[in-house]
């Protein structure tokens, strides 16, 4: 979505990305990011929580309005009410690319664990 934001800004649109993984801005250079610590597939909030979703929309619009230079990441002040493992955001079946890279994923985890020990 970062590349999409960049494309649209180039075409003359002002954009804001409500981003569950704002760290991607370090790779892509996202024009305006509103970072949200919510599970994937529900960046605006919980099902049926109109008031909660509205607060997220308004804060995201505030980022659109107040960001003063390209690449700014604003961290939104919201907390998801469930523990990550209870959010059930993952698909029922492991995605094709994850299946393909499973060994590499395991190695990445091992490397991080070894690095943490040092």
């Amino acid at each position: 979505m970062g590349l999409a934001g960049r494309y649209l800004e180039e075409k003359g649109f002002s954009t804001v990305v409500l981003n569950p993984t704002h760290e991607f801005s370090r790779r892509v250079g996202i024009p305006r990011s509103a970072a949200i610590e919510f599970p994937y597939g529900r960046p605006l909030g919980q099902v049926g929580d109109w008031e909660g979703q509205r607060k997220v929309v308004l804060k995201t619009l505030e980022v659109l309005e107040k960001a003063s230079k390209p690449g700014e990441v604003w961290h939104l002040p919201f907390t998801w009410p469930e523990d990550p493992k209870d959010t059930k955001w993952m698909p029922p079946e492991m995605s094709p690319v994850i299946k393909l890279y499973l060994e590499e994923i395991k190695r990445a985890r091992q490397r991080e664990a070894e690095k943490a020990k040092r």
């Binding site: 979505m1 590349l3 960049r6 494309y7 649209l8 800004e9 075409k11 003359g12 649109f13 002002s14 954009t15 804001v16 990305v17 409500l18 981003n19 569950p20 704002h22 760290e23 801005s25 370090r26 790779r27 250079g29 949200i36 610590e37 919510f38 599970p39 597939g41 529900r42 960046p43 605006l44 909030g45 919980q46 109109w50 979703q53 509205r54 929309v57 308004l58 619009l61 659109l64 960001a67 230079k69 604003w74 961290h75 939104l76 990550p84 059930k88 955001w89 993952m90 698909p91 995605s95 094709p96 690319v97 994850i98 299946k99 890279y101 590499e104 395991k106 990445a108 490397r111 991080e112």
Partner: protein, 172 residues
């Protein structure tokens, strides 16, 4: 709220293996190249908005995003897009995405694409207008940027025709 606050952990909801792998794609240093920028042309209360999500949402009357080919070719993601009229609700849509649980969006489209909220904010005068059309594309674009030409070029043309000035983007 300020841009300097560092507190959102974008890896909190990922299982540790996936987080470790995704981190291998993300540099530790801030992005240093140029970043395109269009300043807001007018106050929020006069701006025309569209919204775009990468969640693979299509109207039931349109063909769904292609999941079958991705199941056979795991590096491929459907590069097309679908237009979503501003009145679209969860009753009108299919959601196809192999990387998230799509059940929540099917129950309430506003968890992913804030069409109801932007329409309400238009009514209240907080924003100027929600354009007739918003959009979805498919966010898994791993090895190719073809989706920019295939989806965003036609989308941006239609946005211009509808007077859109600002775009609310929600990655899945």
């Amino acid at each position: 709220m300020s841009p300097e606050q560092q507190k959102v952990d974008g890896f909190r909801f990922m299982p540790p293996g996936l987080a470790a792998w995704v981190r291998t794609f993300i540099p530790e240093k801030e992005f240093e190249g140029p970043i395109p920028w269009t300043p807001l042309p007018k106050p929020m209360s006069r701006l025309t908005f569209s919204a775009v999500t990468s969640a693979g949402i299509s109207q039931k009357s349109d063909p769904p995003f292609n999941m079958e080919r991705e199941k056979k070719e795991p590096m491929w993601g459907d590069p097309s897009y679908r237009a979503l009229p501003r009145e679209t609700t969860e009753k009108d849509i299919h959601v196809n995405h192999l990387h998230i649980n799509t059940d929540y969006i099917k129950q309430d489209i506003n968890v992913m694409l804030p069409l109801g909220h932007l329409a309400q904010l238009e009514k209240e005068g907080v924003i100027g207008r929600l354009a007739p059309t918003s959009y979805s594309f498919y966010g898994f674009q791993f090895q190719s940027n073809d989706f920019l030409q295939e989806a965003f070029e036609p989308m941006s043309k239609r946005m211009k025709q509808e007077g859109v000035e600002a775009v609310f983007l929600t990655p899945a």
